[in-house]
Amino acid sequence: MKWFLLRRLGGALFVLLALSVVVYAAFYVAPGNVAQIACGPRCSPAQVAQVSEQLHLGDPLYTQYWHFLQGLFAGRDYSTGTGVLHCQAPCLGLSYQSDQQVTELILAKLPATASLAVGAFVLWMLLGVGTGLLSVWRRGRLTERVLTWITLAGMATPVFVIGLLLIIVLVTALQILPFPDYVPLTEDPEQWAWNLLLPWISLALVSAAPYARMTRASMMETLAEDHVRTFRAYGVGERALVGRHALRGALAPVIALGALDIGSMFGGAVLTESLFGIPGVGRELVDAVKHVDLPVVVGLVLVTGFFVVLANAVADILQAMADRRVVLA
């Protein structure tokens, strides 16, 4: 287990560093005069040159990257004009656009994204697993066929289509829900939930389908396994068979998938955030990329990557813990 975690950590570090190199290289060749952007459109060439020097934009790529790494592991100092701003490790640098520390900026955006992800996760897990179990319970009957079609429809609908349709129906026509306007949980929990309901539902509807299908398939497979047969042959009732002996094994891959999905969603559900105007990580990424705000992009990619990698590891561990036959080595 210890070795497994260590190796995982090493792998994750590699992936993250590789990601940052890729992004650095891509943006280095990308057009967009960063110094001019940072300085403002009417800056004189001399001023642009000053800004460029201040941001170390004239340095070769590897030097810039080295500074980035230094910041990441040791922290970096920036001049405020009258003094020095120390950006503590892990320092992802300052945004070209707003001079804000990237770490602070991302931390400020994370709660919205996390709210979106966690709520949607809970909803789609309930919906997906519930639907899956229901269709196993009612297998071979009309209910199962109807559920199969509903899940297929869910899989076929992009989140922005479902979201827009829900806006038309729930916001415009029926006026049941407000147009989402993110309110921090700390500010007003009720409004927080009320405003996020629409995005949650949208995400849950499109995301639940694979879970329903997986739950169903996995349950069917597990119910056919030898050990379930054993307990059936010993007079154990169907309910106990499903609840005690099938569900646990069947849900392991479902939960692992859930971990993966929520992990990647922590990196920003770009579409949902854009559609509903939720000020989260995903929207920030779109914005930063459009404005060649390299430190923010790199920071966000690293954070996103971190969550993906973390989710993968968690998924593996969950699966292994659920299934003791798998040895973590």
């Binding site: 967009g32 001019q36 403002g40 009417r42 000053q50 009258t82 459009k290």
Partner: protein, 574 residues
């Protein structure tokens, strides 16, 4: 992604320079101008209450040195007083410049190269200390520091020694061309006559900054207020800004700012759709809400138009801005005036206006200067295209130019969905020119790439969509950067896309700049525009119109032609 607001951070500013910090303008509906000059909820405006401002763009860089505003901006103007400021009145009257910290608009020397200002008595910061002319000098000097870049270029261009000055952090000695003989007097020495200096003095760079409180790039977190409100909370780099009354501000020294609400809560980072949705719902705190940066998009306008109650809560503003086609005559075939004229004839302004959001959001333009007296607007239409373009005339000209079989050209535009230089406009032109036998290929660039490409002499395409806005309502900053031969920038952003370097034009610009009678100057700008228009270096397309919703209990809505947006220093919520 909702329709992006007109403003998207500093970057987009290249095309919408001024719109950026001022927040786009909205003057009272044109047809509604005669009345008492203000609209909004009925009843006498009273002090008190909280005004909510719902914005998409955060008030980042809330530092007077870094702000690029027209007339001191909207939210910034609540905190930062300047030497002069804009007249807070509806419509054309609002396009005038009036004194703020200073007692008058400044005393020019004979040739308008030296400007002297005297401060009013009893001016205080939020901490009760007195405002001195040295603080104004220091504030201006700060704006030269590379750390605090972002402001307009004029101080650098006009002040003697400004081009080389690096700001007070690197250069402790200061800028000699600003003198403060005593605590109340400040004198500016310019390297050439500038009759419009009072306009420049409205920008936040002339806000006093006490040297002792300056902490560089961190100053934006809590800038020291000289205005009616002070910053009590600044979260997320200007995403949430809470302003409360500054007890040391005195209405007796400030004729412009009404400052009715007790508290101003600026919430930004909101999606433009959310802002408009909330304003139209006008629920709870949103009833006392306005926006200073989010227009109604065409789709939203369509919805609002159908609802009388909502329509009554829409402010309409005009702001000096022109969207146009720019030519680079160094690129064939645009070196041939006939080709440029042919295109001028061929454009279908009604399609273009539709693509820009329809006739309520855009007015067709045939002049480069905006349709406002302050700019000295002189009507002309040298190449009458009518409503839908004159393809016949265009074809004739093309034939004369030696292109009897038509032409194939590339039109560069931005990929932003901003209804200005966006693909929709480009496609509308593509369709119109097709009728005149001109095949247009579209080259859409991402916004940064677009600015870098079209505003750079080295990469400037021959045929592209551009836009230009006023730093202040006058011909100077509107006309000169585009047509003054000495403002062709070799490295860096160049806005004289037509690369016009005509001695006569340059000379006339210099002559007008010497005038300190701004009305007289305006007339000459208008005449010059008409003259230069003959060269067909640009094809003016339309002037945008801004529509803004405001909450139900918002009173005293004042929209000047300077900013085009309701002035929150005038708004009352009680």
């Amino acid at each position: 992604m909702r329709q992006p607001s007109v403003i998207s951070r500093r970057v987009a500013a290249a095309t919408a320079v001024l719109v950026v910090a001022a927040g786009a303008a909205a003057c009272g509906p044109k047809d509604n101008k005669g009345g008492d000059g203000s609209s909004g909820a009925a009843g006498k405006p009273q002090k008190g209450g909280t005004l909510t401002v719902l914005n998409s763009k955060p008030q980042e860089d809330f530092d007077p040195a870094r702000l690029y505003t027209s007339g001191g901006g909207n939210v910034p103007s609540l905190v930062f007083r300047t030497l002069t400021t804009r007249n807070r009145e509806d419509g054309a009257a609002g396009a005038k410049v009036v004194p703020d910290l200073a007692t008058d608009l400044g005393t020019p020397s004979k040739n308008a190269t030296v400007w002297t200002y005297t401060l009013k008595d009893g001016l205080k910061y939020e901490d009760g200390t007195a405002i001195t002319s040295a603080d104004i000098k220091y504030g201006i000097e700060r704006s030269f520091a590379a750390e605090l870049s972002g402001g307009a270029p004029y101080l650098r261009d006009w002040l003697i020694g400004g081009a080389d000055y690096q700001g007070p952090y690197k250069d402790k000695k200061g800028l000699d061309s600003i003198e403060t003989p005593d605590a109340k007097t400040i004198v500016f020495h310019l390297d050439k006559p500038e009759g419009e200096f009072p306009f420049l003095a409205t920008q936040t760079q002339t806000t006093p900054v006490p040297r002792a409180k300056d902490n560089g790039t961190k100053y934006e977190e809590h800038p020291i207020s000289s205005g009616p409100y002070k910053v009590v909370k600044n979260e997320g780099d200007g995403e949430r800004l809470i302003l409360e009354r500054n007890p040391h501000w005195s209405a007796s020294t400030d004729e412009e700012r009404k400052a009715y609400p007790d508290r101003i809560d600026v919430r930004s980072g909101l999606d433009s759709a959310v802002i408009n949705q909330r304003l139209s719902a006008s629920q709870g705190a949103d009833a006392a809400a306005v926006t200073t940066d989010t227009n109604l998009g065409p789709a939203e306008l369509a919805k609002v138009t159908g609802d009388k109650k909502l329509a009554a809560r829409v402010g309409t503003g005009h702001f000096g801005y022109t969207n146009y086609i720019a030519f680079n005559p160094k690129v064939k075939p645009f070196d041939d005036p006939k080709v440029r004229q042919a295109i001028s004839y061929a454009v279908d302004r009604s399609s273009v206006v539709n693509a820009a959001g329809g006739s309520s959001l855009a007015e067709p333009a045939t002049t480069f200067l905006p349709d406002q007296a302050a700019f000295g607007h002189t009507p002309y239409d040298h190449f009458p295209a009518g409503k839908n373009g004159n393809a016949t005339k265009a074809k004739e000209l093309l034939k004369e130019a030696g292109h009897p079989k038509g032409l194939t050209v590339t039109l560069t535009h931005s990929n932003d969905k901003d209804f200005a230089t966006s693909p929709e406009i480009a496609t509308a032109l593509q369709e119109a020119l097709k009728k005149a036998g001109i095949t247009v290929k579209l080259q859409g660039l991402e916004s940064n790439d677009y600015s870098d490409t079209v505003y750079n002499l080295k990469s400037e395409p021959g045929f592209f969509l551009g836009g230009w806005g006023a730093d202040w309502p006058s011909g100077g900053p509107f006309f000169a950067p585009i047509f003054d031969g000495r403002q062709i920038v070799k490295s860096g952003y160049n806005f004289n896309s037509g690369q016009l370097n005509d001695a006569a034009v340059n000379k006339e610009i210099d002559e007008i700049n010497k005038l300190t009678d701004l009305d007289a100057a305006a007339k000459r700008w208008g005449a010059l525009d008409k003259k230069v228009g003959e060269q067909a270096l640009t094809v003016p397309l339309f002037h945008p119109v801004y529509k803004r919703l405001y909450g139900e209990s918002v009173k005293n809505v004042v929209i000047s032609d300077w900013t085009g947006v309701l002035d929150i220093s005038q708004v009352a919520v009680k």
